[in-house]
């Protein structure tokens, strides 16, 4: 298995989720996954799919064509980017007429989609390339005192026929990755439900209620942290937790961590190295729980 990937950052991460990128890069480097920067990229296309499927296809194909020139497969941190690049790669490989139409749009820029690179999300790379055994070996500081909840999000799982990863109704991959750190991963109601982020800007009310529902379910099982693997889910929970608490007179106090932050702690990195200072929700109580064992 190749452990050298082009990293596709997408837009949300450089815009406002540096903590995810910092922690992911550190953890991947230590696990022997080499990252090469994209020479150039643009939005994956997903945000404009609702308004123009053709625009989405062109933007995604443009990224894939740029990646093809390097001969390396793509790793993304965002499941939305991963899902889009996978989907468009599949559609354009199977549909010659559409491929020719889209390539017509790219021609003037000297680009051509050929369908020669694959895209994987970081969770997939950690599971399939690195492997749980190697991750467990890298754990020097097992987080055995910690009980957390996972939030896989939608686009790493659905639509099932396109993504073809894990079992969308009862996903296990992230759970196993969490358990590899020594932490307990709790089951809770509606684990695979949407965070609400896609509704922001269209109906903030619906979006915040969806996130509140999630917090209520996570609180019910007394999780000490919520673990995400998507920049949008993370923004939805971490950035809005205090707002939701105020709005609905709730108390959560649940830190929202990117999975690489959790793994990084278990691999002996410090909260500072893993950009905990970039998080909105206070993590000190959770870190105290961990100190109790170490």
């Amino acid at each position: 298995m190749s452990s050298k990937y082009l990293i596709f950052l997408g837009c949300a991460i450089p815009y406002r989720v540096a903590s995810y990128e910092i922690s992911a890069r550190k953890v991947l480097a230590k696990l022997g996954v080499e990252l090469v920067e994209m020479p150039e990229f643009n939005c994956c296309g997903l945000p404009l799919d609702p308004v123009s499927h053709e625009t989405m296809l062109i933007l995604a194909a443009r990224n894939l064509a740029l990646a093809e020139q390097t001969g390396l497969n793509i790793l993304t941190l965002c499941p939305g980017c991963a899902g889009t690049l996978k989907k468009v790669n599949k559609i354009l490989k199977e549909d010659k007429a559409l491929r020719e139409q889209i390539n017509g749009h790219l021609k003037e820029s000297g680009l051509e989609f050929k369908g020669t690179v694959e895209t994987k999300h970081i969770v997939q790379v950690l599971t399939e390339d690195v492997g749980l055994e190697k991750i467990k070996e890298a754990v020097v500081n097992p987080l055995t005192m910690l009980k957390v909840a996972e939030h896989v999000g939608c686009h790493l799982l659905r639509p099932r026929d396109i993504i073809g990863f894990d079992e969308p109704e009862d996903p296990q991959t992230l759970k196993k990755l969490i358990e590899a750190t020594g932490a307990t991963c709790l089951d809770y109601v509606d684990e695979t439900e949407c965070c609400g982020a896609p509704s922001v800007g269209v109906s903030d009310k619906v979006a915040l209620q969806l996130a509140r529902d999630k917090f209520n379910h996570v609180k019910a099982v007394e999780a000490q942290a919520l673990i995400t693997i998507c920049p949008f889910c993370h923004i939805m929970f971490d950035t809005n937790e205090l707002r939701i608490e105020r709005m609905f007179s709730e108390t959560y106090g649940i830190p929202v961590l990117h999975y690489p932050q959790l793994l990084g702690l278990a691999m002996g990195m410090t909260p500072e190295e893993l950009a905990f200072n970039e998080l909105r929700v206070d993590t000190s109580k959770m870190l105290q729980v961990l100190k109790g064992v170490n």
Partner: protein, 180 residues
Amino acid sequence: MTETSTSRKPIKASEIDPKFKYELSRMPGGEKLLRCFQCGTCTSDCPVARFSDAYRPRRIIRMAQLGLKERVLNSETLWLCAACFTCTDRCPQGVEVASVIRVLRNLAAEKGIVPQVFKDQAACILDSGYAYKIPELRIKKRVTLGLPPLPTSNPESICKALKGVKFIETTGKEGEKSEQ
């Protein structure tokens, strides 16, 4: 766009476009529209429907099948779908509900019926290549955070690639490139 536009007002024969469902069936994502037998799995499993009084995917599909073209395309509830694809995965008829809704949104957007947030993102992509206007300060801050420089984008080449796309030629240029 009004939320009441999907409410149960009487249907007049004059507002029915009998060919609409076939038009949708020929578009990528809309192929399986006619398979829907209105079981309601989509609505009962929809997380958005739980918190919205108006958003009902089953109703949107029925309106499309009936040919209530103007009513469905002008409905603001169309934009509430979070694209979580739960309906698509669970539909016993394999309708790909979320994709049918996307096809309807695409048609609405071509007529200029589209929430501002999408216009802004389109404008941003045409201007910078990214879906958000990433502040210069944040790009510079990457160095102090120990991150490699942000790869460049090529807006000129992107604009060339998107030339001739209907949405981009019309609505896509109306957005604001302001920092959100």
